[in-house]
Symmetry: D2
Subunit: 140 residues, 4 copies
């Protein structure tokens, strides 16, 4: 077997975020739940960058819904630190799976690794999941 000369990798979306002090808890580090917030914010920025409007979708009865969030906490972020939040996406059947990582910008240390699964409800019913395929085609 030989490796294909063109390595096909998912296109990566990334944004830079700065930790706000109030996002840290009494241990002086970002509270675990806030990584979910950071990742949710990143997905929203990702979809908005592709021209998606949650309001428009919702009016048409289309709602993406998170069904699973699996986060591994590797290293802690503290107040004022800047981090890079990355996202790649794949679709398998009814699920849209976001692979999201958070790296401290200063040393590129991986702070949190997430796998977020979502489905698309159309008029409150589970759909095939391909609704956003066209929108996200450059990333799938």
């Amino acid at each position: 077997m030989y490796f294909c000369s063109v390595i096909m990798e998912n296109k990566i979306f990334e944004i830079e975020i700065k930790v706000r002090d109030y996002e840290c808890d009494s241990q002086g580090i970002v509270n675990n739940a806030n990584y979910l917030h950071y990742m949710e914010n990143t997905r929203h920025e990702f979809l908005c960058s592709l021209g998606h409007s949650f309001a428009e979708s919702h009016k048409k009865g289309v709602d993406p819904v998170v069904t699973r969030a699996d986060l591994q906490y590797k290293s802690s972020l503290t107040g004022g630190e800047i981090f890079i939040s990355t996202l790649t996406v794949e679709r398998t059947g009814v699920k849209i799976i976001f692979h999201q990582n958070i790296y401290r910008k200063s040393d590129r240390v991986l702070c949190c690794k997430g796998k977020i699964e979502a489905v698309v409800l159309i008029n409150r019913k589970l759909s095939r999941g391909d609704y956003y395929d066209e929108l996200m085609k450059d990333y799938l």
Copy 2:
């Protein structure tokens, strides 16, 4: 001058709340913004105790809206502490004014003193403010 034999005081509504650790920030004390959350929660419990339903009101086009929140921070609460959140209410013109205090239960020390003003919008327009007078009559 002599004191009236019946001292007229506003009836006090109160609930007990326990501080959750994640509500504390890196200083190890409840973050200032969370006192606003505690007071919002207290107003909701107060109105619910009188039979009010925010959902029902909203469908009728009636929405109470906070216009001002003036909080004085006196003493800090820490994780796990239990506090008493009190509320009295008065109406002056279009404004409903909630006087809300937060006391540490163990020593009744006043931690936060709040004056929250609200108005009532009916179909998105400012109303006279008396919509809730009947509901809150025992407290006004």
Copy 3:
């Protein structure tokens, strides 16, 4: 093979919590990150019920740290709803694994299922993980 007449099940710790309106987002349901907060709060109440003090532990250089949180979102909670938050715990090697579920009280529908992994750091170094075995013996 036959089933042992005594079915050994992990002892369950549970608390009741009421959703606060501000914990809901613009979709009118509890924001995903708040389930992590509810589960963190439940773990704290569990350890406190056994006499544990985070402050005391910390002074001795002992710190439990969450390394993974895997949440499955099944059904949405809305403002004002009461839910039951349950916890069972097991230890495998260096990991303490909390199995945590959140059920709507009114109909016992499972809203969120979580598997939270933690390790125990002693003086900032990974320990064998058995530090809390004695404390949690009735639940392991």
Copy 4:
């Protein structure tokens, strides 16, 4: 009477912030408490821009503490909107008073007007309040 040809105005510090969807509550607008978070974040960015380090100060036993927050809510922000958060500062006696406003960037509409009072504790005791005068001299 004539106006002085040099109008002395407090120097204004400002930053731009984008509303994250999870900062909105079930009414679809930014929850009241989050304006306090935005203003806290603005004060931190302001002090950091002047070279202040909260960690350094704290080690020296110097802690600025908010004693009062008086917010007037004028217009609502919604998810995804960008706003300008401004700050001017004055010192009167032991108090440092921050005048903070939040304007929607698109139409410069004033959304929230805040007056935040703070004191400076040195070794947990109330100080004269002039500790930061040198640091903030361009803004006082």
